[in-house]
Amino acid sequence: MTPGAVVRPASTEEVSRILRFANDEAITVIPRGGGSSLQGEVIPKADSIVVELMRLDRMALHENLRSVTVGAGVTYGVLDKFLKPNDLWVPIYPESSLVCTVAGNVAVNGAGPGSSTYGSIAEMVLGLEVVLPNGEIIQTGSEANPNAPGPFMRYAFGPDITGLFIGSLGSLGIITKVSLKVFKRMHHFDYNTYGFDDSSKAERFLLELRNNDVNALFATLYEGRILNFFMDMLGDEYGIPKHEWPAYTVSVTIGRTREDQLISDAEEAKRICSELGGEVIGVRELPRGEWTDRMWVFARSSYAHGWHWRILYHHQTPINWHKSIDEIWKVMDKYGLLGHTAGFLTDHSSYNLYPMIFFDPADKEEEQKARRAHAELALRLYETGAVPFKLAPYWVDGVKDLERYIEFVKSVKRLLDPKGIMNPGVMAGV
């Protein structure tokens, strides 16, 4: 689709003026951050205005509040470099960190290395500055009080208005600033791999890491064949020794600010593994590679094999990890397509999976087949109890028992955006 115009505002006020104009003229607006658009969130509509936000690149550290405020054009890579001299970080690294903006990532509620302890990016957000479809500028969180020293409390003034915009895919307004929690940077890490002959033991291992407060910053459960595929792509580069991998391998990076905590956690992880009948494999290069390369390991492992792909981000509980895997393979087999899935423990009791269905971009028939497989997989995953990060349209088409929820989403959308100018269709087809 060819947009009518692309604009690159340099301030919140300019964004406001653009939206006021678009709203008056009922012109569709597509907000755009880094444009990684892994699930097609920022594809322009015909004659729309694309509002590209990369010029909103200011940052402010609030050291005493343990928070930072970034403009909508700031990527994770830029933010990390900004915080490092103060020995601080935002300990979640979406694996498109070099491209995606923090604000864009908030708009899709992304996750990545670090999320196994800290959850999705939503859990870091203390407040947002948002330009509403009519051009009004609002501030959420503690900063809604102009006398506040800055962002220190998200749940200020009652309902979680901040949360309304997280994962909203730019359909309710344009996020122009994000305030986030910052933490003291960790310097003590333990990398290890744990093997299991049965998926239920591996799943239980993940759950028990959480139950026992092992600070697993990044914990990934690999099926043997997927791990071998990963090895083909990055094994040599990460210096991973040849190994007869078991049926299920959990790769874990534990991080702590204090060494004594780390030693204790590493011992605890080994104990849990052994008690569950697993094997401490001891190949450390895999998790070390995942963690040290955390800003783009996903991009590298996704692109190095040469295919294009459709992806289906979703959450399962760790105990139901196998249900997603079973459905993914069934769909691949049914459509005769290649693909794989990876994922990681995310937050309190969730596991984030991102199955990818490969296709050759020069083969239009195969691409259509990948689209059909993608749609069917979404339905099947929904039926296993999986939930998406956000309401992309393909999570809604044909699903049962979600009508009332979708109706409520539509009501919110009508309230905030009565003319329907903001990124129409991107959230639940609304």
């Binding site: 690159r8 990390d80 070099l98 491209v99 783009w296 991009a299 692109y303 190095a304």
Partner: protein, 387 residues
Amino acid sequence: MTGVDIEELRENLLQCRRCGICRNAVYEDEGFNGVCPVWKASSGFETSFMRGKVQVALALLDGQLERTPENAESLYTCTLCGNCSQICAAEFNAKDCLEKVREVFADIPNEIRDSLARAIAQTGNPYSEKPSAKRSWIRQMGFKVPTRGKTLYYVGCTTGLRLPDVAKSTARILKAGGVEFAVMESEPCCGSVMLRTGRTKEANENAQSVAQSITDSGAERVVVSCAGCLRALRKDYPERFGIDLPPVLHITEYAQQLINEGRLRPKGYPKVTRIAYHDPCHMGRELGIYEAPREILRSIPGVELAEMDPSREAAMCCGAGGGLRSFAPDLSRRIAADRVRTAESARARILASSCPFCEHNLAAGRDLSGSSIDVVDVAVLLASSLP
């Protein structure tokens, strides 16, 4: 007509997954502090960096865009610095592909590109100056330089016609090292700019002529001052045109040898001088030469070497390459000004490089930014430190 396999080119372009890492990735652990100099110094729209350029190229190839100069314009606002290829997660060599795209679209009118090729064909240099002018600096040397010899100093157009101090310094270094050398009577252009702008057929014809001239000079070794000449003669000629030349060395590589052998002994500066070294794209990312110029600077007593952020494999371009200095001079200078500011952030008093084309542009960027930093070639610094 072009020798490029269009289907293969299209397949390669489709390797781009449109992730956008090539725009402005800041990845401290890998040394990246930005990627695309054009994106950074321009309006920053999608076609300013490689992700957009690839889409434009595909649309032109597939006929979705009409082949007009306006539609092809973004293909030429690129320095071909290769930083995007350096960081590409898909390991897709976008820079080489764009060069091929330019070759494929050589029939789309572009007066600047064509006038550069014409000038080289007619005068032996892109500046349309007299062919013999490249030897003018020799008159000030106080010694004779033959036109034939075992060591040929291939001066280069920018060195000979715009920065003769670099040529004089190179000559002093060779002389001080006890190396007898020759300079051609009428040195032809290496044709780098033809290669970079897609005039490959003319570049091939030119290369054959250059090779013949080098053979006629009796050279057993070729020494150059310019990173662009170095890349063309050492890499492009054999790989693209099957031309084998005698060994081609950059003066910094040769001078490093001479220093190691004890044939050159820099005496140094009276007081400590902080110098930042700018890696030319053709020498660094293209040929992997990072140490020789740094070693030379370190060998000069009183020099404190400063590293810019970014440098080496992730260094930002000076803005001159890929024909950009001709296609978009203001943009080219803004990119140079940005690089100058980086050198100032490294608290350098001198910004050194080993490519006169870089230096010519960095000096323009210095003037644009109002900086007082000195922009100096490594050869000039070395020559001035010799007894």
